[in-house]
């Protein structure tokens, strides 16, 4: 008599494990599972969990100094406050508490910073990439390396170097101005709050120049790579049609670089919203909070003054702002070009 074994249906995890062990290409599946799992675990513990934790903290008046409730220190002395932090952010009264006014200042400063950095960066790197692309092959590498080197330099080192350039008495910038004018100049570029240019604090502009110097090599390399990706046939066709250098740039290169420009501007914008180290070292947010940016505000609240809940709420706002800008930019620069 024949005995028939009917396999029980597998469900959920059991089905997955069964297919992993016995399914077609099980060795390949096991390899993929084994390779990907450590990274998934890593991302879960070091990215996903901190994100969830950060979001949860935004709804509590949390400080690591207080013991709080039994579950992760939440509750008790670290009470649940719901949306209170977010409601407080909308308090625009001139006598609002200090941390709220500082948040408003940091939002404004970060926005100015990012919206100046992106166009300035693109205005420098795009033409520069075209120029580098047009020079002899052997020189390209030298220029690329030359402009990319600051990207490799640590931000703290860059900040210290620019701090020396801007120093009122010993700085290079004032030394040049003194040598040219024949009269001692001791402008405090990063510390005199009365200095403004077109309504923008000079201290903020000084930091922007330092940031641009360090950051522009990255976009430059992206643009050079994108320019090299434009098919020669398109350029040849334009040349046969009699296009000059400017027309080649505006009618051929620029439209075809649109997806790259979008990518570069989104990345630069996101990086600009996250700026911290260069400002922390150069100005610490001064003079009189003229260079106080969002991440510096988050850092000060979280780690100097132990207002973790408030800092988490500000972090959440930063996350939303960066995401919104990325979506808007992606839509604005959407392109159908294919080549």
């Amino acid at each position: 008599m024949a005995v028939t074994t009917i396999a029980k249906p597998h469900r959920g995890l059991a089905r997955f494990l069964h297919r992993l062990r016995h399914g077609r290409d099980s060795a390949q599946r096991q390899f993929v599972f084994g390779s990907v799992s450590p990274m998934v675990l890593y991302m879960t513990f070091f990215t996903l969990f901190p994100m969830i934790w950060g979001l949860a903290l935004a709804f509590f008046e949390y400080s690591a100094r207080r013991s709080g409730g039994p579950i992760l220190g939440l509750g008790g002395d670290n009470p649940f406050v719901g949306l209170q932090h977010f409601r407080n952010m909308l308090n625009f009264a001139p006598d609002a508490p200090l941390e709220i006014r500082q948040f408003h200042i940091s939002i404004k400063t970060t926005t100015i910073f990012a919206f100046l950095i992106v166009p300035l960066n693109l205005a420098i790197t795009l033409p520069l990439a075209v120029l580098i692309e047009s020079v002899h092959k052997r020189l390209k590498g030298i220029f690329r390396t030359f402009f990319f080197l600051p990207v490799l330099a640590p931000s703290v080192g860059v900040a210290l170097m620019w701090g020396w350039i801007y120093h009122p008495q010993r700085g290079l910038l004032n030394a040049i101005r003194t040598a040219i004018g024949g009269k001692l100049v001791a402008t405090n570029w990063t510390g005199d709050q009365s200095l403004t240019f077109l309504g923008i604090p000079v201290a903020l502009l000084a930091v922007i120049v330092a940031y641009l110097w360090q950051d522009m090599g990255y976009n430059l390399v992206i643009f050079i790579a994108a320019l090299q990706g434009i098919p020669e046939s398109i350029k040849d066709a334009a040349r046969i049609d009699g296009a000059n250098w400017w027309q080649m740039f505006t009618r051929v290169n620029l439209p075809l670089l649109k997806p790259t420009i979008m990518l570069a501007s989104v990345l630069t914008m996101i990086d600009s919203f996250k700026v911290f180290d260069i400002i922390q070292v150069m100005t610490e947010g001064g003079p009189n909070e003229q260079t106080r940016v969002l991440v510096l505000d988050i850092y000060n609240n979280a780690f100097r003054f132990q207002r973790m809940g408030w800092a988490a709420a500000v972090s959440f706002v930063l996350f939303v702002v960066v995401m919104a800008i990325s979506i808007v930019q992606a839509r604005l620069l959407r392109t159908e070009w294919e080549y």
């Binding site: 062990r21 096991q30 084994g34 690591a64 100094r65 002395d77 008495q169 009189n288 003054f305």
Partner: protein, 444 residues
């Protein structure tokens, strides 16, 4: 079943346990004593863990005391774990609520009460030091930081001072014809006249300040000390009050120093030409900063140290009252299983005048013990640090700066930045005092 699957599963579990292990606190919590046994028999081997911030001079002093204590108590082993300053602050902030701290914790007096709030620190047992004895033994300005709700939670080792005497470069003074600067100043007019002579300008740009008092410790220390000297108090029953006649007098006097041209607060502040750097690079002839600055710069600027004297500042009151933060001292964790030994070591290190002097000499700090500000202790200290003399004479006039929920916020983020703003001419006196008062009260 495939043979490889269990191996794969075990590998994943190992990875997961390594990741989880990394998340665990680095230091184990001390094991609780077994039930029915005394917490700490005298003959039992005891290990005391001590946390301090990284300061070679301080830690050398601790190491010497620990060695001597262990020689006298062979059953006790003292181990030190040190952290750089910023890491130490963050470690204390997270380790104390988590209960993973050491037995003895070095603390800055201004921090103590914020940790007491979470029941993290043990009160000093009265047989080690009663409150009355503490008041007789330790300078009140230093003790106050360790008293929270009328209970003592630690013992200070140093007198932290940022006001009362100034660094003076006597060589520069002689160069501009001030021969008697070491004799001091009878009043502020004399002081301002000397400071003005020491200013150096080129093309209307100040290249050397006469008196640099515009750093982040010096501005609050000056402002609040002047309020006391004018007869006011900034901590009252109604809260923090500086928008008062005395507050106005203090700020107007500070502005008058700037108007007299002794310093340019745009070029000399905390961000540019910090007072320590400026003084030792001869960018200022007189600087307001505590005596801790000399050991920091002595190795790099021995020539400047040779011509440096600390000279007492003039005072608006008969007694040269000033505000001071509570300095570094030692506390014991409330969760320590070896509290008795911990307090015994602290008592040995801090309350024994000879040992306390030894630590002050090793660390280059002023004494917190009244007994060591005079007599043999003072002589030993002055033999090592002659520039301590003007400070030792005024320590008794120090008044504790007061308890703030976040002292650094009040001192640096609010007081320094708002007053510097006023000194730079960007805010009126009235507006500054009103802002200062409101922002500090908000921080409660």
């Amino acid at each position: 079943m495939s043979k490889r699957f269990p191996i794969l599963l075990i590998s994943l579990l190992i990875i997961a346990s390594v990741v989880l292990g990394a998340c665990k606190a680095a230091e184990p919590t001390p094991a609780p004593p077994e039930e029915g046994k005394p917490a700490e028999p005298v003959t039992e081997e005891v290990t005391l863990r001590v946390w301090t911030h990284q300061n070679d001079a301080f830690n050398e002093g601790y190491a010497n005391l620990a060695e001597a204590y262990m020689a006298e108590h062979p059953n006790v082993t003292i181990t030190f774990e040190t952290f750089d300053y910023d890491t130490y602050i963050q470690t204390l902030q997270t380790a104390l609520p988590a209960g993973t701290e050491a037995d003895i914790l070095q603390m800055f007096g201004s921090w103590v009460c914020s940790y007491v709030e979470g029941d993290n620190l043990a009160a000093v047992p009265s047989d080690v030091l009663s409150m009355d004895k503490a008041r007789d033994t330790v300078f009140s300005a230093q003790l106050a930081g360790y008293i929270c709700d009328d209970t003592l939670y630690g013992i200070p080792q140093e007198f932290n001072i940022e006001y009362g005497a100034v660094l003076v470069n006597t060589r520069l003074a002689q160069e501009v014809g001030i021969e008697d600067i070491e004799e001091g100043w009878a009043n502020w007019d004399e002081f301002i006249a000397d400071a003005q002579k020491l200013v150096e300008k080129q093309d209307d740009v100040m290249i050397r300040a006469g008196y640099h008092f515009t750093a982040s410790d010096a501005i609050p220390a000056t402002f609040y000390s002047l309020i006391l000297q004018y007869g006011g108090q900034y901590l009252t029953d109604e809260g923090f009050r500086v928008n008062t006649p005395e507050g106005k007098q203090a700020l107007e006097f500070m502005i008058s120093l700037v108007d007299a041209g002794v310093v340019d607060p745009v070029l000399f502040n905390d961000e540019e030409n910090w007072v320590g750097d400026a003084y030792f690079e001869e960018l200022t002839a007189i600087g307001l900063v505590g005596p801790w600055v000399i050991p920091e710069y002595a190795a790099d600027y021995p020539d400047i140290v040779d011509v440096t004297r600390y000279i007492q500042l003039p005072s608006f009151s008969d007694e040269p009252v000033f505000v001071a933060s509570s300095g570094w001292g030692l506390t014991v964790s409330a969760r320590s299983q070896v509290k008795e030994t911990a307090w015994d070591f602290i008592s040995y290190a801090v309350l024994n005048p000879e040992n306390a002097t030894q630590w002050n000499i090793a660390s280059g700090t002023l004494p917190a013990l009244k007994a060591n500000a005079a007599g043999a202790g003072a002589e030993k200290l002055m033999a090592e640090f002659p520039y301590f003399e003007p400070f030792l004479a005024i320590l008794e006039y120090g008044q504790h700066e007061g308890h703030f929920p976040d002292r650094d916020l009040v001192w640096y983020e609010i007081t320094y930045s708002r007053i510097l703003n006023a000194l730079q001419g960007n805010m009126s006196v009235e507006e500054t005092l009103e802002t200062l008062e409101r922002e500090v009260n908000e921080s409660y």
